[in-house]
């Protein structure tokens, strides 16, 4: 009898271990699907950026999740500028209208401190996601996931600024000879802003008005990110780490502002008004030889997916096969904006919401999502950069993914403090003054004074602690 009991217990233990092993042998996506079937028939609501981004859950991941688990996904489309407000309003009002959220990582300290985001660590352990989470590219994983030592979101969009340039123009023998004769070095993708200025001026002098040396988006919300990147690449620091006094009005800041305005002179007239679309159109139509932007430019310049209805507004590319990819001058690109997936702390379906974001963010599903040409989601996992499927998407996709990988390794985080948007608003206003013609030094002195006033209001010590934590991250300043 004793022997029988022993045998039975052993068999049960072996079976339990076997089942557990089988369960853990599943991928994170499969595990999420199996666990989520318990919640079949429910509906989860997710906040997603309006426009192309939301076509992912509307056309791809939402219907697929419903098919696999029986859970409906309701997508609330919100303009980027309104997303933070809507999330906070939902939290403060206690309406609990949202279950899962798309969050720009720079907002995470504010949202987490307010209590609007659910701590994800218990769910990560419960649903066995920790291993796959580690395979997110290090810059995003180490910098865009936690506040303090707690996980509040899964980095889900490898936003990074890349330089796109016209390989055919740069490799043209006549251009190369003339450039070398004038400047004494080879014409190649610029590694410094001085080289960028030389090349830009040279190509504009030679080709305008048909083609200009460069074109950038200059509207303040975009140029604000470009300033943050360039300022740090040239050695600038946002604050004195001890006193928390703003130092954007340092000599570096003034030089960057002055150079940015001077560079407009070799860019197409009216570049100060350019946003994402104007800059894209000019580059794709061959009117500019260099630009810096988010990853979709690189895909669309090659014509990838632009035959789809959702992208019929994208100008037909005239430069497919002629595009080179490089890191912006300085070598440390801005990881501008990006998105992380989070769960709302007021959600009534937290497990179902969590399982949906684990599934979205998993190795298997995220690889499919970042290849959707219309959704603006960019590679963010180490495996995305080496995916044979992605590498075969167009002839020089290897160069594109290589540049994205390099960017993810050296990229710089957006400034992320308490009430970040107040600091960013000052930068946006400063840039609009810069294009308006004000003196760079005077603009930045005022900006530094405004930043100090914001810091004082929040509390110097409180903000200093947050800044020091941010500044200690690998992507805060060039290493």
């Amino acid at each position: 009898m004793k022997m029988l009991r022993k045998l039975t217990l052993t068999a049960a233990a072996v079976m339990a271990v076997g089942w557990t092993a089988a369960a853990w042998a599943q991928s994170a996506a499969e595990r999420a699907v199996n666990e989520a079937k318990k919640y079949s028939g429910t509906t989860i609501t997710i906040v997603w950026e309006a426009g192309l981004q939301s076509l992912d859950p509307l056309h791809f991941s939402g219907p697929k999740w419903k098919e696999l688990t029986g859970i409906d996904v309701k997508v609330v489309e919100v303009a980027t500028a309104e997303m933070f407000t809507k999330i906070m309003q939902d939290y403060r009002s206690g309406a609990a209208a949202y279950d899962a959220l798309n969050v720009i990582p720079a907002w995470m300290p504010d949202l987490a401190n307010a209590g609007a985001l659910e701590v994800l660590d218990p769910y990560v352990d419960k649903y066995g996601y920790r291993d796959e989470l580690q395979k997110i590219a290090p810059t995003y994983r180490d910098n865009q996931m936690k506040v303090g030592d707690k996980i509040f979101g899964f980095p889900d969009d490898g936003d990074v600024f890349l330089m796109y340039y016209r390989k055919d123009v740069f490799e043209d023998a006549a251009n190369k000879d003339a450039f070398k004769a004038k400047y004494g070095y080879d014409l190649a993708a610029p590694k410094t802003w001085k080289e960028f200025d030389d090349i830009g001026q040279f190509l504009t002098d030679k080709n305008q008005p048909n083609m200009y040396g460069a074109g950038f988006f200059r509207q303040p919300p975009y140029a604000m990110y470009m300033f943050q990147e360039r300022f740090r690449n040239e050695g600038g620091k946002f604050f004195d780490a001890e006193s928390m006094k703003a130092t954007i009005n340092s000599d570096v800041g003034v030089k960057v502002f002055t150079d940015m305005r001077n560079e407009n002179k070799f860019m197409p007239p009216g570049v100060e008004q350019w946003g994402f679309v104007e800059n894209l159109a000019a580059f794709l139509q061959g009117q500019t030889a260099m630009t810096i932007s988010w990853p979709p430019y690189g895909r669309w310049a090659e014509g990838y997916g632009t035959d789809q209805e959702a992208l019929n507004w994208v100008p037909k590319t005239q430069i497919a096969g002629k595009v080179g990819y490089a890191l912006p001058p300085g070598g440390h690109p801005e990881l501008a904006a990006g998105f992380a997936l989070s769960v709302s702390s007021t959600s009534k379906n937290k497990d179902a919401a969590y399982l949906f974001i684990q599934w979205l963010n998993s190795e298997d599903i995220s690889l499919q999502r970042v290849q959707l040409p219309y959704t603006l989601r960019d590679p963010f996992r180490t495996s995305h950069y080496t995916s044979p499927e992605y590498l075969s998407r167009w002839p020089n996709a290897k160069d594109y993914l290589g540049a994205l990988k390099a960017g993810s390794e050296t990229g710089l985080l957006d400034l992320s403090l308490l009430q970040t948007d107040k600091y960013e608003e000052v930068l946006r206003q400063s840039i609009s003054k810069l294009w308006g013609g004000d003196d760079p030094k005077a603009i930045l002195d005022q900006a530094a004074s405004d930043w100090d006033a914001i810091t004082d209001k929040i509390g110097v010590d409180k903000q200093k602690a947050v800044y020091q934590t941010w500044a200690a991250k690998s992507g805060a300043y060039p290493q």
């Binding site: 906070m88 206003q429 294009w435």
Partner: protein
């Protein structure tokens, strides 16, 4: 009739046979409406007043009493007073231009012209467009690359013009005021046309026979006749201009810097971008107070109360 009921002559009391009239019945009748109005009008106002004396922001849980801190802050906030100044400048420029242009157009269309109805309908079209759409459309018109305005100026100038209407400090106000005038002059025109159409023709004809000139007739007869309507139109448009938001937001978002930031834009930024809930409530009460004083003065000055 067994249950005859009558409303007393003054409407004050309801009389049932065998019962004394209820003196308070009229109040019971209007009570629900008054309660509803107070609930949706007065309650938010009182609630906001309470909030303006707290430390509330949307980012923190602090709801403690702040006393007059937010109101004291109003006087130190240079950006607030600049935004009020910008609002006053736009109002002071746009309102007279809209009035004069509206009056000229109304005078023109007072005569029975062929196709008058069609032209009037077309002229009124801008007022039915949402201001944010009007602003976005004008932004495209002012666009440096694709907008026709620079091209048209270029034809006259004989060379390409690359004016940055929504970027350069010397051009942003003309751009805003042009857009504002385009959209709202037809409103003034329509009101004044209606007013002018109702001026007693026998008076103007008698004055003409007596030898009075056009200007004298206009000042002495027409203007006093249309003044009540004109004053209302000025008041409505003036208040609209004080709360101008959409057109400027679409054109410049208050820039460059805060150069075209009006009080509505400033309030929006404080409340919905910077989440300064209590301070925004204090700003709102400052604006309410200022508008109450100005409107009361204007109504007295214009004789509208009569």
């Amino acid at each position: 009739m067994a249950h005859t009921s009558t409303i007393a002559a003054g409407g004050a009391a309801l009389a049932f046979p065998g019962h004394p009239p209820d003196r308070h019945f009229k109040w019971w009748i209007i009570a629900p409406a008054i309660f509803l109005l107070l609930f949706i009008g007065l309650f938010p106002l009182i609630y906001s007043l309470g909030v303006s004396f707290q430390h509330r922001t949307m980012l923190e849980d602090d709801k403690s009493f702040a006393g007059f801190l937010n109101y004291a802050q109003l006087f130190r906030d240079a950006r607030l007073w600049q935004s009020l100044l910008h609002t006053a400048v736009i109002t002071a420029i746009a309102l007279p231009i809209e009035l004069v242009l509206g009056m000229l157009m109304a005078q023109l269309f007072l005569e029975r012209l062929p196709g008058r109805q069609v032209f009037v309908s077309l002229l009124v079209m801008p007022t039915v467009i949402s201001p944010i759409v009007a602003g976005a459309t004008w932004r495209l018109l002012f666009d440096n690359r694709y907008g026709p305005i620079n091209q048209i100026i270029g034809w006259f100038a004989g060379k390409p013009v690359a004016a940055l209407w929504t970027v350069k400090p010397d051009l942003v106000y003309p751009a805003i005021i042009l857009c504002e005038i385009w959209q709202w002059t037809p409103f003034m025109f329509l009101i004044l046309l209606a007013a002018l159409s109702n001026v007693d023709k026998s008076l103007t004809e008698a004055a003409e026979i007596d030898g009075a000139g056009y200007w004298r007739i206009f000042v002495k007869i027409v203007l006093p006749a249309i003044w009540p309507v004109m004053a209302i139109a000025l008041l409505i448009r003036g208040l609209d201009l004080v709360r101008i938001f959409d057109i400027i937001w679409a054109l410049t978002q208050g820039g460059p810097g805060t150069m075209t930031e009006t009080i509505s834009i400033y309030t929006y930024v404080q409340g919905f971008q910077q989440f300064e809930v209590s301070y925004t409530a204090a700003v709102a009460f400052l604006v309410i107070l200022m508008l109450t004083v100005i409107v009361t003065w204007a109504i007295r000055r214009m004789g509208l109360a009569k």
